[in-house]
Amino acid sequence: MSSLAVSNDHADAATPAKAIQPAWVRVVHWINALAMILMIMSGWQIYNASPLFNFSFSRSITLGGWLGGALLWHFAAMWLLMVNGLIYLALGFATGRFRKKLLPITPGGVISDTKAALTFKLSHADLSKYNSVQKLLYTGIIVVGIVIVLSGLSMWKPVQLHWLVSLFGGYDVARYVHFTCMALIVAFLVIHVALAVLVPKSLRAMIIGR
């Protein structure tokens, strides 16, 4: 009996409780967080050079100091965002994470989980399983991330990638698409950070894995 118990202990020690967030997800998540912040803050400064709407961003929350500096930051951080994003997409598909974690998304599930969340009845006992609202938001933000990169590329290379510009309906439309995606990402970020603070163990899982 005792030897069996020992071997069981050994087995437990050899395979520690499976991480809620695997290491690659955590690394890619925080690199993305940094890249996104650099892109958004430098993007605001670039926006200020020729605003689409009747407002500008305060210089206290922009990066780069002036248009030229902001462009240098934007076109440097874009590599970080793009390479990191491609690694995330490749691993997300290859490991089956997207399929296992984000699917299926059903309208019924989203409605009932939204109601539960708003009445503070949504369970956070098992962080390894996303609820329907999380599934919808995380899938949605991946799509927004892809669209913001594609609209950004079409503004960066409107001649070389003119087919991409046409896909968005022209250069001017691509600017609005790019801005809208930024607004959606910022909105996501506000909710995402607020919820991580409300459920601190989810933040811990994204830092140390468990």
């Binding site: 670039i46 926006y47 050079a49 020729s50 922009t62 990066l63 780069g64 100091g65 002036w66 248009l67 030229g68 500096g69 462009l71 240098l72 930051w73 076109f75 440097a76 590599w79 503004m155 290379k157 409107p158 001649v159 070389q160 003119h162 510009v165 250069y171 001017d172 600017r175």
Partner: protein
């Protein structure tokens, strides 16, 4: 990040600034200053700025910008044409844009003006405006995209630059065509040879079928629809075919040098 702008002041090269500062130091100080590896980076640290503001961040950004030049050059397809538009879509009024007011724009007398040709060319003769007007011209209606983000469609008529380069016997294996302009503070800009030879790159003499008005660069601008607006110099007074990177008004301040569309 105000410092990044301060470090990129037009006309002030920080390396030269440090070199000049070192020159006025007494000898022993100068030696110590140099051996301790002083740089403007050290100076900015002394003035107390955060890590992102330091010149090492600026150096990193400049390196990435050089890398982006190479990527864009690699992406550049010499046969890819900028989309063209019907003349009815020309933006009216087409915006005037510069780092000065229209009142301060060069007011050039076409009779006195000559285009100076220098560098790696067989025929270095200067060209009068009437001589240039004799060259075959073509019209293009293309989108001008400003580095600031706005864009406007314009109608430009002139001589393809590649035809002119051929005419003057330019060495088209050279790396750049460098333009100097009559703008105050001396506007200039380098154009990589691949872009200079692009079929839509044009020595422009007319806007919307009228002689190029002062606002748009009379008597001659270089229209490059595969580049951002600031790489489309106005009030051009000379062109030089060269292998040397001679910098440019905005390029020296930090705008990406290739800035291709």
């Amino acid at each position: 990040m105000g410092r990044l702008r301060k470090l990129l002041i037009p006309g002030v090269d920080k390396k030269l600034l440090v070199r000049d500062a070192v020159k006025v130091m007494p000898d022993p100080t100068r030696r110590r200053f140099l051996t301790t590896g002083a740089s403007l980076g050290a100076l900015t640290l002394l003035t107390g700025c955060d890590v992102l503001d330091s010149s090492s961040a600026e150096e990193m950004l400049k390196k990435v910008s050089k890398f982006n030049d190479a990527v864009q050059s690699w992406m550049f397809n010499p046969n890819a044409l900028a989309p063209t538009f019907p003349e009815s879509m020309v933006t009216k009024p087409f915006p005037f844009n510069a780092y000065y007011d229209l009142d301060d724009a060069p007011d050039i007398d076409g009779k006195d003006w000559k285009l100076e040709v220098r560098g790696l060319v067989d025929n270095k003769k200067s060209w009068t405006i009437d001589e240039l007007y004799q060259l075959p011209q073509v019209k293009q209606v293309t989108r001008h995209i400003c580095v600031e983000g706005w864009s406007a469609i314009g109608s430009w008529t002139g001589t393809p630059l590649r035809d002119f380069l051929k005419l003057i016997g330019a060495d088209t294996r050279a790396k750049y065509v460098w333009f100097q302009c009559a703008d105050k503070d001396g506007y200039n800009s380098p154009l990589d040879m691949e872009s200079a030879l692009h079929p839509q790159t044009q020595m422009t003499f007319k806007f919307a079928d009228q002689i190029l008005p002062r606002a748009y660069g009379y008597p001659m601008k270089i229209r490059v629809p595969t580049k951002l607006g600031f790489k489309n110099p106005k009030y051009v007074i000379s062109m030089e075919v060269t292998n040397d990177y001679k910098g440019g008004y905005w390029e020296d301040q930090g705008y990406n040098s290739f800035s291709g569309s």
